[in-house]
């Protein structure tokens, strides 16, 4: 009993001590900041903040691409801006708090990475009319040039069309697969683009399609990502494309284990994969989130930030497929065909479907 009491009192003492130490540190911080301010009062830097999507930095995919753009801007405009990023916790319930926190701290431009930020940015942007916002992948209705929000949108279906064609041309079994993250219209755009591209080069191709789940958690469940990919490989597919954020690590792992091919998404995933996985990554559908982030920061620095919508498709080099040192031999034989398809899409000769309905019409037109 006595021991217990001593332990309890000791713990309380420790807690109080920790609190005191914590407080004293906070007191010191503002002083330092003041000193810094006094040293360089004239260089008022623009502050750029970025809040990541579920999966966070290090997903080797979507978020890392956004981070690359932020980092490049921070280097190029080092004397004009300072950057900061935040990662939402768990299921991302604190997205809105993080946006608000950055806005309250006097940030000039804040990015929300991912469509899940749509309603939060809509709300927060109205509360802070002087702060500019960049929303990646999300669509807010009724914006114009004078709005303080710019929506950065991508034609994922066009890029997916190309990797779909690549998959169909590389498939020996006549079966290919798709693993999506959370089932939403955005991810379905990847799926139908991929299916359309595959059918375009080989109308008889069979496409297996699976989704990991119905919540944001589906973007960080590599266990299920791997199981679904394994299932598709065992069912005869020999190329699998994923659009599932950090869950895609599992898809690539499955491809390497089965010695089949995987197609990455958003970033060039050949570069970030393990050494022994690289031979099994056919290509990646590149979505230049980094370019969009960089360009938006650049416009702010140059004083010509515009609200509204920026759309990045094949023509704008906003989406494309990856060629690198690891896959150039694997992909060289189909590259001319892919570039031909790319030209056709840019010229408008191929109209890539964006949803299931358009896809069905597209498929019908192929069989005519």
């Amino acid at each position: 009993m006595k021991v217990r009491k001593i332990l309890a009192v000791g713990l309380i003492f420790l807690l109080v001590a920790a609190l005191l130490v914590g407080c004293s540190k906070q007191e010191q911080q503002p002083q330092q900041q003041q000193q810094q301010g006094q040293q360089a009062p004239e260089t008022e830097k623009l502050k750029v903040g970025l809040v990541f999507d579920v999966g966070g930095r290090g997903d080797l995919s979507f978020n890392d691409s956004a981070y690359a753009g932020l980092e490049r801007a921070a280097e190029d405009f080092a004397d004009k801006i300072e950057v900061e990023y935040r990662e939402p916790s768990g299921g991302g319930q604190d997205r809105e708090q993080l946006l608000r926190l950055l806005a309250e701290n006097g940030y000039d431009l804040i990015f929300g990475v991912g469509f899940l930020f749509t309603e939060h940015i809509q709300k927060v942007s109205q509360e802070f009319p002087d702060v500019k916002f960049g929303l990646i992948d999300g669509f807010i209705d009724g914006l114009d040039e004078n709005s303080n929000v710019t929506c950065l949108l991508f034609k994922e279906h066009e890029g997916s069309f190309l990797v779909g064609a690549a998959a169909a041309m590389k498939s020996k079994t006549g079966k290919i697969g798709f693993v999506g993250g959370m089932k939403t219209p955005l991810i379905e755009r990847f799926e139908v683009g991929y299916m359309a591209g595959a059918k375009y080069v080989n109308p008889n191709i069979e496409i297996l399609s699976d989704y990991i789940g119905t919540t944001g958690e589906a973007f960080k469940d590599p266990v299920k990502g791997k199981e679904l990919a394994l299932k598709q490989f065992k069912a005869g597919a020999d190329v699998v494309y994923h659009a599932s954020g950090a869950s895609g690590v599992g898809v690539i792992e499955a491809a390497a284990a089965e010695k089949k091919l995987a197609i990455g998404v958003d970033s060039d995933q050949s570069l970030t994969a393990k050494e022994d996985q690289r031979p099994y990554i056919l290509t990646s559908m590149l979505k230049s989130v980094d370019v969009s982030v960089y360009e938006t920061i650049k416009s702010l620095v140059e004083g010509n930030f515009k609200g509204g919508y920026s759309v990045f498709g094949l023509a704008e080099n906003g989406v494309s497929y990856a060629v690198n040192d690891y896959n150039k031999e694997l992909i060289s034989d189909i590259q001319p065909k892919l570039d031909e398809l790319k030209d056709k899409i840019i010229k408008g000769e191929i109209k890539v479907p964006v949803d299931k309905k358009e896809y069905q019409e597209f498929e019908k037109s192929l069989f005519k």
């Binding site: 290090g58 266990v223 199981e227």
Partner: protein
Amino acid sequence: MFLSELLASSLRMAVPILLTALGAVFTERAGVVNIGLEGMMIVGSFWGALGSYYYGPYFGLLLAMAAGMFLALIHAVNTVTFRVDQIVSGVAINILAYGSCRFLSQAIFKMATTSPHVAGLPKIDIPVLAGIEFLKPLVSGVSPIIILALLLVPLTRFVINRTVFGLRLRSVGENPLAADTLGINVFRMKYAGVLLSGMLAGLSGAYLALEHTGMYVEGMTQGQGFIALAAMIFGNWEPAGALWAALLFGFSEALSFRVVEGGAIPYQFIKMIPYVLTLAVLAGVVRKSTPPAADGIPYERGMK
């Protein structure tokens, strides 16, 4: 071929649940409810990846088990020594695990939610059996932890039902006062049960990170610690029961992967299969479950 694929997939999905459920058997048989198992799996996945990243997979496994046991020690100090409500302590453990992994991941890997790629254990082909074509998916390229988990079932059963340690553990869970009267150190037995559960949950987390994915991703446990608790109750606090329950969960997950998405069944219903199946079995098949008599009740000397 399809059948053995399905079974192999079920097994891979079942193993993390099974390991944690075996841990749950130890702690609950000693009379301590441990809903912190989810948190212990989380630290297992993080520390497993960390250890493997720096010193290889074997060290990763050791570190994962140690991390699980460390959280279990906190739970034991809280609930056994200080007689804190066991649910409250378990919830706190889960939050602590989540926050500490995020913090450490940011500090060590410079990324809050993922680790770099890490190495797993070498995969095993079971001799003789791997030659049979039908069994191939089940017995070739198997993670050693899957085999270990399956071996642990009879071992746990033996330890709990046939050894002195097991008898004392059970007596502490059923009637601590009687056990104390007979000179059994109740507190030490409870500590042992809780620590074993932490070790197994940590191992289970390491399986997810090292063997299944080759990387730590925040939230990769996806609530399997809680499912493991359900599996243990489902299996009537018996290791063999926990095995069947874990296999049922794994099987229904694997089955839901394989239901072809088509016009007939809406997608959301396919994703419901594991849970509906579980409810159906719980409601229809399982007989009355009997927890240890003193499960969840803190023991104090001289208590009436």
